[in-house]
Structures are given as C-alpha cells and as structure tokens.
C-alpha cells in the first residue's frame, strides 16, 4: 500500500494558518473482532501521530481503536518559516512510518 497521502500547501505567506491533511493506509484492527473460528483478532492500530516543523513538534494526536481504518487526520499550523514538515506515525507491532513535505514561506 502506498504508505501515506500528505496534502500540504507548497507555499504560504508568513503568519498564515495552513491546513494539513494526512491519510495513511492501516487496517486499525480494533482487537474486538473475532475470526471465523471464534479466535479474537489481536489489536493492531496506530497509536500516535506527531507533526514536527523544522524539528519542533507542532501537533500530536493519540489514537485509539475507535479511529477508522486508513486514518485521516486534518489539522492546522502557522506557516512560520520555510523548511520541512515531518509526519511520524507509530503503533502496535513496531509500526513506524515517517513522511515529510517541504514548504516555502515568504
């Protein structure tokens, strides 16, 4: 699966509040479902999403099984300077994905 879809404006004016949309493929197995043989399917979810802006954390979301599969998270941040926005997803079974996007702030 293509890991993640990130939508960040490529450019912004200093001080603008920009909206960031992220979509990552993950089954988000709740841990409450049972297989056809009755065995409980173990939980397998993304538990944490963190966004850093040139290394500084600007947003975080703690996820529980109630977040739908292929988690979609939309949030905002202030365009302070040009640089790199990094997105980290971590979860059960050592799940760890990092994506980044560049932004030019004028």
């Amino acid at each position: 699966m293509a890991s993640a879809l990130i939508n960040v404006p490529a450019r912004a004016r200093r001080g603008d509040v920009i909206e960031i949309k992220t979509l990552i493929s993950h089954v988000m197995e709740t841990g409450y479902r049972r297989s056809q043989l009755g065995a409980r399917l173990p939980r397998d979810i993304i538990t944490l999403f963190v966004c850093t802006y040139n290394g500084t954390e600007v947003f975080r979301a703690e996820l529980h099984p109630a977040i739908a599969a292929n988690p979609f998270i939309v949030f905002s941040t202030v365009a302070t300077e040009s640089g790199t926005l990094a997105f980290h997803w971590t979860g059960d079974n050592g799940f760890s994905v990092t994506e980044s996007a560049r932004i030019t702030v004028e």
Binding site: R34, Q36, F59, A61, L63, A66, I67, A68, T77, V78
Partner: protein, 156 residues
C-alpha cells in the same frame, strides 16, 4: 421513542430467519461501554477538574450512513497565543467497546484549535468532546449520532 436494535441483535435475528449460519460473518463484540465507563475514561484523562459545557464545536453527522467511518471535526475558538491557547481536545463515546476515541494536542503554533478525523461508532450513541485550555479550564460539547446498519451484511 423505540429502542434502537443493536448490531448484535440484528445479526441474530437475521441469521435465525435467513437460515444461513452466522459462521461466515465476523461477529462484532457487543457494545459494552456505558455512560459510567465513559465518565471513568474522561476522569482518567482530565483528572478531577470541573467541566463546563460550551465553547467547543463538535461536528459529526446526526445520521451516519455507515458506523465504520464517520467524519468528525472538533474546534474551539481561541487566539492560540502562548498566553491563551487550547492545550488539547479529547473525544469520547458512550457505547463503543472502549470510550476513548482520540486526543488532539495543540500548542501556540497550531494557529487554529481544531482537527478532524474519521471515527468508528458501534451504535447509536452520544459523542463527547472535552477541551483543555491553557488556563486550566475544561469545556465540553456533546452530539447525538444515529448509526444505521448496512441492509445487506457482508458474509464474504
């Protein structure tokens, strides 16, 4: 107001009448949480502080087409300065197997105290959002959501 049939009851009724064994359907654990369990979960996250209804905007469709994926947005009007900002917004449900849904954490760099995502709702129920402000105050909003079941259940 008639009581909404839970997903589990529907599966049992449909299976009994349809004759097709439910063996092929992956059964969903019955919704177990209660309003009390939700209160406990809230206390665990925010401690013993007082929560005042208001200031939080909770956007969730009143009637969802599918409880597996429900768009949900929360926001609080706030200047989002270092001195006056929203620290976090937590979301809970009354009847999911587990009351916690998500916690969004903001800082003064957020620009806007708001976030959106897609959640799972196991049954018709109330969703609660609690915002934690930098001055230590807590605010909340509630939304009632009706969750319908797909007419033709998947067996394959």
């Amino acid at each position: 107001m008639s009581r909404r049939t839970s997903r589990r009851e529907f599966l049992l009724a449909a299976g009994a009448a349809g004759g097709l064994g439910l063996a092929s359907v992956i059964a969903v654990e019955p919704a177990r949480a209660t309003p009390v369990a939700m209160e406990d979960a809230i206390r665990k996250v925010i401690g013993s502080a007082r929560v005042t209804p208001g200031r939080v905007k909770l956007d969730v469709p009143p009637l969802v087409e599918n409880g597996n994926t429900v768009p949900l947005a929360v926001s609080v009007e706030s200047p989002m300065t270092e001195a006056d900002h929203v620290r976090a917004i937590h979301v809970f449900t009354e009847k999911n197997p587990q009351p916690d849904v998500v916690s969004f954490r903001f800082g003064s760099r957020a620009g806007r105290a708001g976030a959106a995502t897609r959640v799972r709702l196991a049954d018709t129920q109330t969703v609660v959002a609690i915002a934690e402000l930098s001055d230590g105050s807590f605010w909340s909003a509630r939304a009632d959501v009706v969750v319908t079941l797909a007419a033709c259940l998947e067996g394959v």
